[in-house]
Amino acid sequence: MSYQAIGIIVGLILGGLITALILKMANTNNMVKTEYDERQQLIRGKAYKIAFWTLSGGLICVSIADMAFPNMHITNYIVLTALFFVALSVMCLYCIINGCYWGLNNNKKTYMIIFWIAGLLNLFNSVMAIIGGYMVVNGELQFPFIGLMCTLFIAIVAGTALICDGRDKNDSDESED
């Protein structure tokens, strides 16, 4: 096993632990799991279904493209991670648009701070990779590109959440009907 693979595995484990700790602090009842009401659970179920079919469709397309163009090495980890982010974005956007973006025990302010920190950290890594010249090597995208995809994903999710938050404020008691 290469040092890079070991680094990724250790990083993922540490990342998981840190994420669990942050989620515990960000939720009002100090629980890692976010609680949703019955309508939100229904929407999340539909969102998972749509994301599943998006990912499946994407994988089929990539497989066909890989067979059609064997010299292009399409099926690499960057493309597969990009597909994952596309499916994740579809799921998140469906939830956000249908008013299911905050769980019952989420502290909105803390979550927005986490979004900002995560987005800026990923952006910093991506910018450093571009400046250092190791984002693209021999015409192929390298591992730091995943950080750029993560930044884009966070920006899309946070932006849509802000827009929908504004929409829902207009939908409050006073301005209804």
């Binding site: 009401d37 309508r39 008013g99 299911c100 019952l104 939908d171 209804e176």
Partner: protein
């Protein structure tokens, strides 16, 4: 179909959507969706809402032809 009975009962108790949502343990958007008729709540949620608003299921959720 909009649930105007629920909206009237909530307003009668001087509660906002957020107050009612917190009292029954759901999100404000869910109460809004029930009032607008965009979401059909489960019987458990209907009963919880009725208890908070001191109404019967018939008074709030029975649809008259």
């Amino acid at each position: 179909m909009k649930n105007l009975k629920l909206k009237a009962a909530r307003a009668g108790m001087d509660m906002s959507q957020d107050d009612l949502a917190k009292a029954v343990g759901v999100s404000r958007q869910t109460i809004s969706a029930v009032e607008k008729g965009d979401y059909n709540p489960t019987i458990n949620l209907c009963v919880s809402i009725c208890k908070v608003l001191n109404k019967t299921l018939d008074e709030l959720f029975w649809v008259e032809e």
